[in-house]
Amino acid sequence: MIKSLLAAAALTTAMAASALAADMGPAIVFDIGGKFDKSFNESMFNGAEKFKKETGKSYAEFEIANEAQREQAIRNFADKGYSPIIAAGFAQAEAVTKVAKDYPDLKFAIIDMVVEPKNTESIVFKEHEGSYLVGVLAALASKTGKVGFVGGMDIPLIHKFACGYVQGVKATKKDGTVFQNMTGDTGAAWNDPVKGGEITKGQIAKGADVVYAAAGATGIGVLQAAADAGKLSIGVDANQNYLHPGKVLTSMVKHVDVAVYNIMKNGNDKFEPGIHALGLAEGGVDYAMDDNNKSLVTDDMKKAVEAAKADIIAGKTKIHDYMEDNKCPVE
């Protein structure tokens, strides 16, 4: 029995070694939210689909259903020789680190987190910079001087969004008020449009007339509630201006899709290991302008936000990053 088990183990190792020779193309491991979350994971999915459409090459994918599957999924792709293997979200960091060390010849990438091994690329975004800009726009668009923020799950990343947003609002209107609410404490908070809508109604009742949603699919309810009440909202991650034309002030876009597309397109040959922090300067985050919100953003507002953007890119304005000390200088 023991002998046959050992033989099986040896066989698996041998198979893994032979698979390395074949180039299987890229693979992507989505996080628990799933690839159709209308937000982060879906943005990655769109980037991968764009790669598939443009190059005609295929990619492999896996959606995580429980904690144990993280390492298993990445290892499974590595066993079969896929490279680069892209992992979605900060929660995959441990798994990527472990597997990347076991497969030094393959390439790994992780979005929204930094990992150590030499054969990995870490992509992080400066969400506080993009949120600052939409904060500036919110303060300028608000007539009451009161604006809202609806977060998804109560985690540091969302405080990072909130903190950038508040800084933008306060820099524009010193006496402006920001109402902040988180939707919940569990993963379900990313997918609860009804509760998102209720929170938004509450904020509007207190006088807010622009509400920024950083809450995944919950944000759909935030945008809906604001549009129903005739107020403005701000979308997140993807450009959500089209959801309620003329009622969504702008969206804080995070170009996860572009990052995934570039990693897949660069492939193994042009793989760029190391940390890449994508902010305004790198085009990783931005505020969205299109036909749907043209009438909402006046020339003066545009001028102000472009000036703020230029100052950040030039390094004249420094936006505080909540993640550095778990604190925000303004409330």
């Binding site: 698996t12 987190m113 985690i155 550095e324």
Partner: protein
């Protein structure tokens, strides 16, 4: 044999087999609807995990969690209590599993050689995870015994409270400053090596998997539950309360006391799952690591007929389903994880909720045969 009763082999063998077969037939239909080959899908689901060593390791790893939660539900069943809070009790147990490792582990490690400090820390973690789970089980037990609040309601409500408490604790207390992921730092001072790492030490090359010696804790717990229920006075009292509470009062048993003790033991067993998962597989306290194991425990307990041996076997079957589901999503890109959840859900439905559906028919058949 009385009317309506069945031979043991039918009860523990044939009925589960029939339920499982029907679950797979219905699941096969669902696979057919999305345009895939059901035979191939079920073949992959059942055979792939069994054909590699890493598959076996993963099955046993999943099964270990299900043994803990299955035992949790079973112990309560014997006292006539339906504890559906295993999910929350296993989750909160994580505080017990992590805290000694993070707080005292470092102190012990600097004072003692690691082969002394590690076992002591691990023992403290083991006790603490049981204790915190037990507290979380005792509380609804107390409400049931003293206040008449129904245990089904209170345990499921505590699951939500647990979620909030854990997010708060991990986010605000355990998470190191500046760390993006909502998790504690690595618990290196109470580290249960997994099978592969142990293999390295003794010179065996084993595949990577989260399988770890926590398995032996689960088996010991299974034996302990058997001993408690059928070899001790307390176990007799638990079963007496479950069988007939009025008769047990007449026999001089205090049901309130038994309900609270049973729920504490039940919660403690769920808490031990945290010991296995947090220290053996994740090596840090993360969010929502239970991932439904508490609810799977209900199906495991039902299928295992609330007997520890049955629970171990049923847990292995569910481990196979979990690992098979993962393999299925790897092998067939059209069958995504939601499909896998549907297949697993159908098995749980037929094994758990509809478990007794075919019993009357079988009883009628056997009554005729006699």
């Amino acid at each position: 044999m009385q009317r309506g009763e069945l031979p043991t082999w039918v009860d523990v063998g044939l009925i589960p087999l029939i339920n499982l077969t029907i679950a797979f037939i219905v699941a096969g239909l669902v696979v057919l609807i999305i345009g895939e080959n059901p035979f191939q899908a079920i073949w992959i689901l059942l055979s792939t995990p069994l054909s590699s060593l890493s598959g076996w390791f993963n099955i046993i790893y999943y099964a270990t969690n299900f043994i803990f939660t299955g035992l949790c539900v079973a112990v309560a069943f014997h006292a006539g209590l339906f504890n559906i809070g295993g999910e929350g009790q296993a989750y909160i147990g994580g505080l017990g599993a992590a805290t000694p490792g993070l707080l005292i582990g470092g102190v012990l490690a600097s004072a003692l050689p690691f082969w002394v400090s590690q076992p002591i820390t691990l023992l403290l973690c083991l006790i603490a995870s049981f204790a915190i789970g037990a507290l979380w089980g005792w509380f609804p037990g107390y409400l049931q015994a003293k206040r008449g609040s129904h245990i089904v309601i209170t345990t499921i409500m505590l699951n939500y409270i647990t979620s909030s408490v854990m997010v708060y604790m991990i986010n605000m207390v355990f998470r190191p400053v500046g760390k993006m992921a909502v998790e504690s730092r690595a618990i290196d001072d109470a580290y249960i090596m997994n099978a592969r790492e142990i293999g390295r030490v003794i010179g065996l090359k084993l595949p990577a998997s989260p399988l770890n010696p926590g398995l032996f804790v689960a088996l010991a717990a299974a034996w302990g539950v058997w001993y408690l229920l059928w070899r001790t006075k307390l176990g007799y009292e638990i079963r007496a309360v479950g069988a007939n509470m009025d008769a047990s009062i007449y026999a001089g048993i205090n049901p309130s006391r038994i309900i609270m003790i049973t729920m504490a033991i039940s919660g403690g067993l769920a808490g031990l799952m945290a010991f296995h998962e947090v220290l053996g597989a994740q090596h840090r306290l993360v969010l929502e690591y239970v991932q439904g194991a508490g609810f799977v425990g209900i199906a495991v307990a039902l299928m295992g007929r609330s007997h520890p041996l049955g629970i171990v076997l049923a847990a292995l079957l569910f481990g196979l389903l979990y690992q098979g589901g993962t393999e299925l999503s790897f092998a067939n890109q059209n069958i995504n994880r939601d499909m896998v959840v549907v297949i697993q859900g159908l098995v749980i439905l037929f094994m758990g909720a509809l478990e007794q559906t075919f019993r009357p028919y079988l009883a009628a058949v056997f009554a005729k045969v006699e």
